[in-house]
């Protein structure tokens, strides 16, 4: 009985997934988080620190960390790397001026040892804007095909309308699930 209880507890604990959401400032990270969580998205201010939300999804308990993307606080991103199962990289698909920055930051991040096991989901956000680049264009611009160290996928989405957010989250949860808990 005692052993069974311990096993069960262990199992419950295991079903936690930690997602780290990063990207340049104004990419829409907080909007995605709030949209997923069903909160109001009209009054979002630039993130000075971080937000955490815990959600239940497909039997997993997801802890989503949304960390501010301003340049001066990007150096603190590393404080959140530990124990990360999935990295969600959010891109403002209409921000052509900073696609190079975006690519550089992402590829630097992927060098990070503590993120080496994490699945990577790229959200090509702001598809509601007519001038937004498509996911194929973002994939090229960010040179995603060069990434061989991580499982990755790119998903076009709009945090504003909520389009395709779930699909992306489903992918990352599924990928992490099949990787870590292959019992399921």
């Amino acid at each position: 009985m005692g052993l069974l209880t311990i096993l069960k507890k262990n199992r419950q604990k295991e079903k936690e997934i930690r997602l780290l959401m990063l990207g340049l400032d104004n990419a829409g990270k907080t909007t995605i988080l709030k949209r997923i969580n069903g909160e109001d998205i009209d009054t979002i201010a630039p993130t000075l620190g971080f937000n955490i939300k815990t959600l239940e999804h497909r039997g997993y308990k997801m802890n989503i960390w949304d960390v501010g993307g301003q340049k001066s606080i990007r150096t603190y991103w590393r404080n959140y790397f530990e124990q990360t199962d999935g990295l969600v990289w959010v891109v403002d698909s209409a921000d052509r001026l900073r696609l190079d920055d975006c690519k550089k930051e992402l590829h630097e991040l992927l060098q990070e040892e503590r993120l080496s096991g994490a699945s990577l989901l790229v959200f090509a956000n702001k598809q509601d804007l007519p001038g937004a680049l498509t996911d194929v264009q973002i994939r090229e611009a960010l040179e995603l095909d060069k990434i061989v160290t991580h499982h990755w996928a790119i998903q076009a989405c709009s945090a504003k309308t909520g389009a395709h957010l779930l699909k992306g989250i489903d992918w990352v949860v599924g990928d992490i699930g099949s990787r870590i808990y292959l019992l399921d």
Binding site: T43, P46, D128, L129, P130, G131, A163, H164, L182
Partner: protein
């Protein structure tokens, strides 16, 4: 005392550490009936994990060589399991078990990965793009920009806003299931980019609904922006006057700026100096009725203005940051916006 307890622990470990059984079962996996294979694999996986854990827990008590041998045995088993699994249960997508083994079987992973990624992007491609040809042209016409100008007056009406006749990608149809036509596209908010301008005046007040305004490298310019649905993003500017209304204002690496702002969240500055903030000159932009409509269109609350609540990322102390201030009454230049708007007619 210490020595005996360590020796005891090591002995205990040796008695309990028995990889042989798992090894044999691993080898016999081929003969397990298909219906039970998944269960068997799970069982083995857990046992291998337990073995690994036992070794790491006993690192202190075991001689280094023994530790290495044990870990090697565990590693070999988990690798073998991974291989067996991918062979016997091919339908499951990602077959590696731990991060460590991932590296050793990378070729297999890469294959899986590309496969899954391709299906992923092709499904999303179907969702979001009824047609891709001519995409770049569409992008050009819909992404409005002014760049590399000196000493000119630039107004948004001058940009060709002709209808985007090329089929556009449609978004969110999963949710609202409506196919947007060119007319409704014209109604969508568009982003504007202003880059490398010197001594220019820019008027963005127009019937076109605007999304985010991206501004980079402007010197001694005056820019007038109507209420927009997105953010105002500014980088590397100097000696400019910026007049704008938006949801979020983010300013970077700029100095000596006069900013007349209506912003519905706390504006932020980063690596900026000598930034002066004042309220938006509402009555200079449009008539009150039209202005109210534009505010509503942009989803902005006209009664909430945080222009004096600037957050400076380079100044985390309680005291007022030296990098910005609110303009006093006599520092506010009235009529600046009006003058810029009037230039359109010349």
């Amino acid at each position: 005392m210490m020595a005996t307890s360590v020796a005891d622990a090591a002995r205990q470990f040796r008695a309990s550490f028995d990889p042989e059984r798992s090894k044999q079962e691993l080898a016999a996996l081929d003969n397990v009936p298909k219906t039970e294979i998944q269960q068997k694999i799970d069982e083995l996986l857990q046992r291998i994990r337990a073995l690994e854990k036992a070794v790491t827990e006993n690192v202190q008590t075991l001689p280094a060589f023994e530790t290495r041998v044990c870990l090697e045995a565990v590693r070999a088993m988990s690798e073998q399991l991974t291989m067996m699994r991918s062979r016997l249960v091919p339908r499951l997508k990602f077959t590696f078990k731990s991060r460590k083994t991932a590296a050793s079987s990378s070729s297999l992973l890469f294959e899986n990965k590309t496969e899954s990624m391709d299906t992923d992007s092709s499904t999303s491609a179907m969702d979001t793009r009824p047609s891709t040809p001519g995409m770049s042209e569409v992008d050009q016409s819909l992404f409005m920009k002014f760049e590399n100008r000196t000493g000119e007056h630039l107004f948004i009406g001058a940009l060709d806003l002709a209808s985007p006749s090329v089929p556009m990608k449609v978004d969110g149809e999963e949710e609202n299931n409506e196919v947007k036509d060119a007319a409704s596209l014209l109604n969508q908010a568009r982003d504007v980019a202003l880059t490398n301008l010197e001594d220019c005046t820019v008027n963005l007040v127009h019937d076109t609904r605007l999304g985010a305004i991206h501004i980079r490298n402007l010197k001694r310019c005056t820019v007038v922006i109507p209420p927009v649905a997105g953010s105002i993003l500014l980088h590397d500017c100097e000696g400019c006057t910026l007049i704008g209304a938006c949801h979020q204002s983010r300013m970077h690496t700029s100095s000596n700026m006069d900013i007349y702002l209506h912003v519905t969240s706390e504006p932020i500055i980063e690596d900026c100096t000598d930034m002066r903030f004042a309220p938006y000159p509402y009555d200079e932009i449009l008539t009150p009725e039209r202005l109210a409509r534009v505010f509503e269109d942009a989803g902005l609350d006209q009664t909430a203005n945080y222009y004096q609540k600037v957050k400076d990322f380079n100044w985390l102390r309680q005291q007022q940051s030296p990098n910005w201030k609110v303009m006093s009454e006599d520092q506010i230049h009235s009529g600046v916006a009006q003058k810029v708007l009037a230039l359109d007619r010349h």
